[in-house]
């Protein structure tokens, strides 16, 4: 039992990201519940359609006036199901929780509905981004203790947990998520806050991909990003031919702008994930052409072989095009700038250690060729670069959850839990003291 220092206390690990909420038991290798963080809500004057088993209505909807009854639709059947007049809201922005009203509902859905467990019986381990505010983490502790009545609580940094998931105490964690790319220097399990850098790079890439897809290119028209929920029927068409489909007219009226936006973003994300790539030796027009095109079909039935466009997307991780940089001065920093900023803020003696222990993680890092390219870019400036990038996509996407699962099942960790007793005795200050 103690051979590997592990001691299971059946803790629950909760990792709230911009795209998904991950929850599961500590000691597992994959989260049990993975649900989207965004949620849909409908306003109805009378009886709400209680499909998700959510009895309690949320009286304090921040977007809508409080008078009508608001029904929240969370989980995998939440925003992805078309509902008349359903709006979609995002409680987490740039990795930080901004709308705490929806969080208890999401957590409850993950724990109670998906995992089928009672959080009052388990210690709960929560993750936070390195740039989380003290108020935010205290609010989280409050939700856990007051609303879920957990016996013990701990909140840890995603950067540290990603390093732990890679089996490293000191590492330079490059985490590319859905909304934010961050570079976190971790030394002996502590984040060096001065070296922490992050930027909204993935959002820029998504916006750019959206732009590329919807605007006509020389050899293809602009693509309509129509949700399949709005398409009644479609016919298969040849590659590059205009799609032939019929829309569901009955749904056209009840479709909201936010839902359309959510769907388009998802479609763009799908496209990026399936065709996007990075050239491993820097941008080169010939190389981009010779690497071959990839096929992608959209819900309308339109399909096309995407050639160098798919590499233009990935290239933005490393450099912004001159045209874009000229238009906008406040572009998010690309990866090399983030890394060099992070390293220059660290001590000289640490730099070599960090560069030799780079951990590449996050779902956004699954771009094919990204780790090779990163190695090439860093190899120009540092003699010994070693990048740890898990080949398993689950480990890459849920690295922080996995690290939390490992940490929460260690015997020596159990002294760090903030117990309910301590919470009641010390109040919010205990969170900052214990979770360094």
């Amino acid at each position: 039992m103690v051979n590997y220092g592990g001691d299971e206390v059946a803790a629950l690990v909760l990792d709230i990201g911009t795209a998904t909420v991950r929850a599961g038991y500590s000691g597992d290798d994959t989260p049990k519940a993975i649900i989207p963080t965004c949620y849909g809500y409908t306003e109805s004057p009378g009886d709400a359609d209680v499909t998700m088993g959510d009895g309690e209505p949320q009286p304090e909807g921040e977007l809508a006036p409080p008078k009508p009854k608001i029904t929240m639709h969370v989980g995998n059947n939440g925003p992805s199901v078309w509902r008349h007049g359903m709006e979609v809201a995002y409680p987490v922005k740039n990795g930080l929780i901004e709308d705490f009203a929806a969080i208890p509902k999401l957590i409850s859905h993950a724990f109670r509905d998906v995992m089928g467990c009672n959080p009052a019986e388990h210690p709960v381990f929560v993750t936070e981004p390195a740039w989380n505010t003290a108020a935010n983490r205290e609010r989280m502790a409050e939700i856990m203790f007051e609303e879920f009545d957990v016996p013990a609580f701990y909140i840890a940094n995603t950067g540290v947990l990603n390093a732990f998931a890679a089996g490293k105490g000191s590492a330079l964690v490059i985490d590319i998520g859905r909304s934010t790319a961050s570079v976190t220097p971790v030394v002996d399990g502590f984040v060096l806050r001065k070296g922490l850098t992050h930027s909204a790079l993935p959002q820029l890439i998504e916006a750019n991909a959206h732009h590329i897809l919807t605007n006509p290119a020389p050899n293809r028209p602009g693509i309509q990003l129509l949700p399949h929920q709005l398409i009644a029927s479609k016919m298969p068409v040849d590659v590059g031919m205009p799609p032939s489909f019929t829309l569901r007219e009955d749904r056209a009226r009840g479709t909201t702008e936010t839902w359309r936006g959510w769907y388009e973003s998802r479609e763009v994300e799908d496209w990026i994930q399936s065709v996007g790539g990075v050239l491993d030796q820097g941008w080169n027009d010939q190389a981009a052409v010779t690497r071959g095109a990839r096929h992608h079909e959209f819900p309308t039935g339109y399909n096309y072989y995407f050639g160098s466009e798919r590499f233009a997307i990935g290239e933005q991780f490393f450099a912004h095009s001159a045209a874009l940089a000229a238009k906008n001065q406040n572009l998010p920093l690309p990866l090399p700038a983030l890394i060099s900023n992070a390293l220059s803020a660290c001590d000289q003696d640490l730099r070599q250690v960090l560069v030799g222990n780079i951990v590449l993680t996050g779902g956004g890092s699954l771009f094919s060729g990204l780790s090779d390219r990163l190695g090439t870019e860093l190899g120009r400036n540092f003699p010994h670069v070693k990048i740890h990038a898990p080949g398993n996509p689950t480990e890459r996407r849920y690295g922080a959850w996995l690290g939390g699962s490992i940490l929460a099942s260690l015997g020596t960790f159990h002294q760090l839990w903030i117990s309910k007793e301590e919470w009641q005795e010390h109040g919010k200050a205990i969170v900052g003291q214990r979770c360094k």
Binding site: A10, V187, F190, H414, E425
Partner: protein
Amino acid sequence: MAGPSAADVRSILSLGPSTPSQTQTPLTRKPSMRKPEGMTRELYALLGPSTPTLATQFAKPRLKQKPKLGSNGVDKDAQEAVAGPSSSGGGRVRWEWREFKNGARTDGLKLKHWVNAATDPNAEYPPAKYNIQPNVYVYSLDEYTRWLSVDKEWTKEETDYLFELVREYDGRFYVVGDRYEFPNGPQRSLEDLKDRYYSVCRKLIRNRPWAGDEASKNQLLSSFQFDKEREVTRKKYVASLESRTPEQIAEEEALYIELKRLEQTERRFKKDRDELLRTLYGVESGLPDIISDEDGLNPSAGGGLSISVSGSGLSLDTKKRKKNGGDLETPMSASSASASVIQLGPPGQKKQQPAKNAAFDALQCIVRSEVPANSNKSSHIPVFFRTLKTPIPRSAVASKVAQLMGELQICHTRLVMPTRENNAKLESLLEAASSLVETKKLVDKVELDIRVARERLGMVSENGGESGGWEESNVAGRSASAGAEGSGAGGAMDVDEDAEGEQEEGVDASGRGQSVASVRSAGRKKQQARRSMSISSVDTAATGGPHKKRKR
């Protein structure tokens, strides 16, 4: 009615029942060997009677044994009934979901985990022993005012804050330096923090009463040693090392290589100089490890040695010349002779040995090839068979030369005795032959030109000079063959006179003619007549017809 059985046939042939065992034994054995269970009848039939051992090994298949979980009485009995009494007994562990008290915690949090039911519920939680508090010095207010307030840059509050952080982060100064934010305090670098912390610790150790001996105290003191200036300088060096541009790095590397090269050159110069001194003065030079001469030649007189060597070299030269029939001056012999003289030029080059007994070599037909002074891989000549060095004619004229050699009945591709001299001779012969062929080609060309010019002239003057042209060309052809026979210069001159536009080539041809002449004089006089006759049959295609005519 059934047909005749085997027994009937046997009785007819009066063979007798010779093979009853073959047919009857399986029948008799079969009932005794029962078909093992779990094997289909068809499979068993395939096995036949010949593999009885397999049947005995074929144990009755059983289900996989149940894992022995739980130790309730009912289960136990049931399992024993299945597995037999021998497998019952120990190995059954009861686990229970039990609350535990973590000794490392200050509060009463009771978490639950799975634990062996046999363990003591009040035992200490095993991982709690890893909860070690770091040994951080603390000081009282009195101690601070007496010893530690010397440094005016640090207030007591800030020092307290520093010590608190060091305690909190277990002495990880990188983290301490990262989190250090003393309100209204000056900006502190990592070195400042370390310096302050270690100096306070040293002062406390030095001034507090010490129970142990002086050595252990000094050891402890040295473990808290910190030289801020040195650390800052070191970091500056590291920073400057990191901030080098690629050009600077390349320059540094180039300088390093240059330095290495210079060192190497210097070493070689020194070695050469020592060799020279040794050669000139021998033991008197005072240099160590003088090699005593093996041949008994007196090394003490260095100058005398070199003279005698040069003398022998010259004698070899003359000898060779005599041996070669006086007038043969092949490039090989010339180079070898000159080499033996040149060997004496740089005396430091360990070339004494071959030069010294050159006379002996000449007697024994030993040829020593020159080894370059700075022998590297590319210029190194490994041991080879001289047959491999048999000269071959230039590819452009190879076929013609081969034809020529065939006419001479000389097999130039293989030498019976490929000595150095023979090789050299063959090479010169081939060279002569090829130049002869080239001369012939040239002559033919010039002849053709002349003819064309004549015809043109004739056309202009309406002289009908066709016959004249023929005559002239014959003259030229004859002169060319004459050139091959020895009066090459004259022949070439004829050509020259005739074709004004071809002066340069004519001169060239005359030069070749001479070399051909020297080949002939190299000692093949008996074949001279035949060759002079047949040489002309080595035709160039353009003027093939008339020449053959002329020859006959």
